[in-house]
Amino acid sequence: MSSWLQTAVERAADVSDGLALKRQASLELLCDAKWPTRKTEAWKYVPINVWERAELSGATNDTVSAPVIDGLDSLDVVFVNGQLQSVAAESIEGLTLISLSDAGAQAADLFGTIKPDRHLFGLVNDVLATEGVVIDVAAGAEIEKPIRIVNLLGEGAEAHTRVLVRLGAGAKATVIEHYSGNSLSRNTGFAEYQVGEKAQLEHYRFALQTGEAMSIGGCHVELAEHSELNSTLVGFGSALSRIDVDVTHAGSHAFAKMNAIYLLDGKELFDLHSTIEHAVPNGTTEENVRGIVADNSRAVFNGRIHIHRDAQKTLAELNNRNLLLSDRAEINTKPELEIYADDVRCAHGATVAEIDQKALYYMQSRGVSRAQAQVMLNFGFINELVDQMPNEALAEWLRPQLRERFASMEVK
């Protein structure tokens, strides 16, 4: 067992709350778990040793305010260095928005029901996440205001937070998970979403930690009959940044649209694993993942679609496109199909290419400099997905950040 894991297990012994039973089960699994090596398929391209090696000083508990997003009127939940700082107090009919520690039975109901236990760091989060938030939307309730969960990570912090979401039948809600921080820290952030019958979840995960911040997390979604998921994930890499997105079609006729973007520069690392489980018939999944990888960075995308024997009439498509901007950068992509039903339409595609030279020349021939043309092309490539974000305020907030990233990316 790794020494870090050893201390995590020891710390877990001190945790005691209403979730003790569930935590105990995970702890047992964790004790038997093997620390990933390069030979562990799920961690093949990402050296995990930085996580273990880092010596954290422990964070000071400053009060920091959540970054403002123009035009976004959201219900904010703010964690600073893993400690819950504030929960929006506004009371809205049909919405329970409450801290994990105050949630009691509601938390026990939702905790660990969706998250698969195969993920080592998911188990870590199970045993150490004492801070978190529960979002429970009553059947039929439509929550207009987006709920934003902000995780701010400062120097020396180690944070383990949990987000538990339930949308009752026919409910509608928007949840934004927003992570940021750029100094040496460790964090696991896992979220579980139960989307009820005919419910609609609009979901965002902005994994915008950069620099020295290390982060391992996941979004786990279970879709009931006729429910809908529209999810957008944006990742900037960091010293270690890994996200697992798992979506299970548990009820038939569910629809999942998932877009993901990663933009890496410097020595950043970003590893996105997505797994779509079609367990029942008539589900639809559309997944589009695009990445730009510059300088000395490394991106990993593993996109798995698993069609179970009963999942006839599934439509599932996954597309991953990458631009590689430097010969020191690296992209590793693996779109997987595992199909056990015959009457399905499944396809995936993956490309890795350089910037479109023809387009570059076309723009230059109109007088645009090469450098600017590159930024515009990069931006355009990503913006196609940003344009699809249902929330315009978020798209507007994101675009300048993307541009800023592109401007600093060097193309050879």
Partner: protein, 478 residues
């Protein structure tokens, strides 16, 4: 409809007979002593034995791979016999007339006549029976062109400098578990050398037959195409119908020097086991080619047999402008499991690779494509295109795709696409409406699905492959 199609896929395994031939067979077991005995049976020089022993010691340290999407009971390597040869082969027949007629009959039955007058025109055949090569045809004619085509056991004696130089140069001994095992215990296989600037005057082929019970076949093939030469090589394989599983762990190494081209085609029809998954061959094969500057290696495979297939014919595109191709049709039915694909390792500038894989799964089988395309940082301007299509027939089978794409060069372009489809009711109806019976309709649809690959096969083989699928699809359809 599915039921109809499935019925259409029922088939007899035509090559399932056993030849009544007396053999010298080692007792089961694997240890250094067995390896020494194999080596001495072949009267090998000391260096060959040393090489085997080194591999064996490596193998002992290695672990059986478990990453493939296949499931089979653990193999007891001590329960296998590692050498078996027809008694009649002991005194090394000098000509065909001296070869045991029962042996010749076996090949005739398989459609591979070895008598000169009956031989397939334009195809030279090396016939390997269990652990030995029975006969190699057209040798004189090939020698005239300077082409060396002989059993590898003979090449060890006659061309030791070539064997020593290239054996293990493409697939290192420690490459993987089964390759290491093969290095230790390989018995026979073909050796080919095409001299500089020579276009091999005929197709070369090796026909592998496992006959004896409880034996493993560990063949080894080494093909060297010297600068500017060309060769097209075919291999075929069959085995009797038995209830036990048998192990086949081959290694094939290809070396294409500057401007050379090697076309390697396989029609693999090892016994697949019965409907319930009893018996059948475990086909664990390592095939790899090394391309020097401007060279080209093209793998074409039609895989219809074996209970379990674990096979990834690969190309290392080391030289600038070299080209690698992989065309594959894999049909699984009954309880067959195939995990097959390729690796294209791009090292040189402007290297190109194309991968076309067609997987057809029926019955309760599982068919996986597993591939790796790697663009090294040195692979400036390299290109890959991959197309993986799966056809599912019935709702009890599985079709899977596991492609790994790793790119480190911004000017390299990789494109991968995969789709799945089924033989649709509409397609069937259209064919039937035009007067085709369902059996013919399925076979036409499947053949159409595979066309891109079939057209890569040499003429003689394209026919055989087509027939194979047809046999597979033969049956009583109501």
């Amino acid at each position: 409809m599915t039921e109809q199609i499935d019925k259409a896929l029922q088939r007899e395994y035509e090559a399932g007979f056993v030849s009544d031939i007396e053999s010298d067979t080692f007792e089961p077991g694997l240890n250094e002593d067995i390896i020494r005995r194999i080596s001495s049976m072949k009267q090998e020089p000391e260096w060959m034995l040393e090489w085997r022993l080194k591999a064996f010691r490596n193998w002992l340290e290695m672990e059986e791979p478990d990453w493939a999407h296949v499931d089979y009971p653990k193999i007891d390597f001590q329960a296998i016999s590692y050498y078996s040869a027809p008694k009649s082969m002991k005194d090394k027949p000098k000509s065909l007339d001296e070869v045991d007629p029962e042996l010749l009959k076996t090949y005739e039955k398989l459609g591979i006549p070895l008598h000169e007058q009956m031989m397939l025109a334009g195809v030279a055949v090396d016939a390997v029976f269990d652990s030995v090569s029975v006969v190699t045809t057209f040798r004189e004619k090939l020698e005239e062109a300077g082409v060396i085509f002989m059993p590898i056991s003979e090449a060890v004696h006659k061309h030791p400098e070539l064997v020593q130089k290239y054996l293990g140069s493409v697939v290192p001994q420690k490459d993987n578990y089964y390759a290491a095992l093969n290095c230790a215990v390989f018995t026979d296989g073909s050796f080919v050398y095409i001299p500089k600037g020579t276009k091999c005057p005929m197709e070369l082929s090796t026909y592998f037959r496992i006959n004896e019970q409880n034996t493993g076949q560990f063949e080894r093939t080494l093909i060297i195409a010297d600068e500017g030469s060309y060769v097209s090589y075919l291999e075929g394989c069959t085995a009797p119908q038995r209830d036990e599983n048998q192990l086949h762990a081959a290694v094939v190494e290809l070396v294409a020097m500057d401007d050379a081209e090697i076309k390697y085609s396989t029609v693999q029809n090892w016994y697949p086991g019965d409907e319930e998954g009893r018996g059948g061959i475990y086909n664990f094969v390592t095939k790899r080619g090394l391309c020097h500057t401007n060279a080209k290696i093209s793998w074409t495979q039609v895989e219809t047999g074996s209970a379990v297939t674990w096979k990834y014919p690969s190309c290392v595109l080391k030289g600038d402008n070299s080209v690698g191709e992989f065309y594959s049709v894999a049909l699984t039915r009954g309880c067959q499991q195939a995990d097959t694909g390729t690796k294209m390792i791009h090292l040189g500038k402007n290297t190109r690779s194309t991968i076309i894989s067609k997987g057809i799964s029926a019955g309760r089988s599982n068919n996986s494509y597993r591939g790796l395309v790697r663009m090294n940082s040195s692979a400036k301007g390299a290109r890959n295109f991959t197309q993986c299509d799966s056809l599912l027939i019935g709702d009890q089978c599985g079709a899977h795709t596991f492609p790994y794409v790793e790119s480190r060069n911004p000017s390299a372009i990789v494109e991968h696409e995969a789709t799945t489809s089924k033989v649709s009711d509409d397609q069937m109806f259209l064919c039937q409406q035009r007067g085709l019976d369902p059996e013919k309709a399925v076979s036409m649809i499947v053949n159409g699905f595979c066309k891109e690959v079939f057209k890569e096969l040499p003429m003689e083989f394209a026919v055989e492959a087509g027939k194979l699928l047809e046999i597979s699809l033969e049956g009583s359809v109501g």
